[in-house]
Symmetry: C2
């Protein structure tokens, strides 16, 4: 399989981390969303929405959306429960991640980190993303004060998905010291077998 992804992207890190844990070999194809590569026709043929990551299966078919890729790869493994309700909770947290967490925690990090986004560092934007991100972290804190992982006692793809940008939230100017259950959970995720960091070294 081939994974088109950007090394510095948390969304691209999600399937990399899961494939490392599952021992699935794959070819990483570095694909930047910052230099126009994802808006070129040859990339749009893989994902018409022009985003990474994209998984290319061995038969040449594609799957896009990081959390859809996680669910595909996790099927039949310890990272996805078989119980119908538990599985619904995994889905619930994955949609929460894309709607209520990533647009604040990840976007604030990108605005602060990438020089081409400097014009977006307005007081209004920085305040709105801080507020939204802290709200999302508060929702996680409430759950993780009750259960070791987001969906009970075992790590699932919901944890892998939310780990990707939460573990790097300090680069978005978030203070995880205010979220002790989230901080303890980050360490639990990192202690799970087969963990690899987002960036080498």
């Amino acid at each position: 399989m081939k994974l088109y992804g950007m090394s510095d992207s948390g969304n691209s890190y999600k399937p990399r981390l899961l494939m490392a844990k599952l021992g699935i070999p794959f070819e990483h194809v570095e694909t930047s969303s910052r230099d126009g590569t994802t808006r070129k026709p040859e990339f749009l043929a893989r994902n018409p929405n022009g985003r990474v990551p994209v998984l290319e299966l061995d038969d040449g078919r594609f799957i896009w959306e990081s959390n859809a890729i996680l669910l595909y790869l996790a099927e039949g493994t310890r990272f996805l429960p078989t119980d119908r309700y538990q599985r619904a909770l995994v889905h619930q947290w994955l949609f929460f991640e894309q709607y209520s967490h990533e647009p604040y925690v990840a976007v604030r990090r990108a605005i602060l980190r990438y020089p081409e986004r400097a014009a977006q560092r307005t007081p209004e934007r920085m305040a709105a993303t801080l507020e939204g991100g802290n709200k999302a972290l508060g929702v996680m804190e409430r759950q993780l004060a009750e259960t070791p992982f987001l969906v009970g006692s075992a790590l699932t793809v919901a944890d892998i998905s939310l780990y990707a940008y939460t573990h790097d939230a300090h680069n978005g100017g978030f203070d995880l010291g205010a979220f002790p259950a989230v901080s303890a959970w980050l360490a639990r995720v990192e202690g799970d077998a087969g963990h690899v960091p987002m960036l080498p070294g």
Copy 2:
């Protein structure tokens, strides 16, 4: 089952439409996200993220996130394929809906429709949501020019999810005349057995 939802919300319409099609009886509990109800402690006990819809199962357990509710209800029905790759495509479109479609198409509609959001009708916001929404509709157009439904020849929960705000996009100031395949698909979704409109009457 109980469904906490707001009648005028496309996100709340999604599970209502699916349950109507499946013939599942449920109690609708009108719950406004506009009057503060979803931010009260008794509602946050159901969904700590303070959003509708929320599904309450007969045993008192909750599921939130509209698309997670759709997947839960669709399990074992004609609205969710059993093939692993086809199912991944359903997930892909559901995540696309929440990240790349709803924040533009639905948000522009809400800004234009709800008086309490009038201050958000700035030229920048209106332009950004128009551009994002048209981009999302273009991604759908590309797929629907090739297949009758988003994931091939049969209607799935991906279609129900994306129908919810797309069919009402004109109220967000979008011109669906520019998207003929999307327009033809709307009619196909409405022609599927058991269809009910978002609002009575």
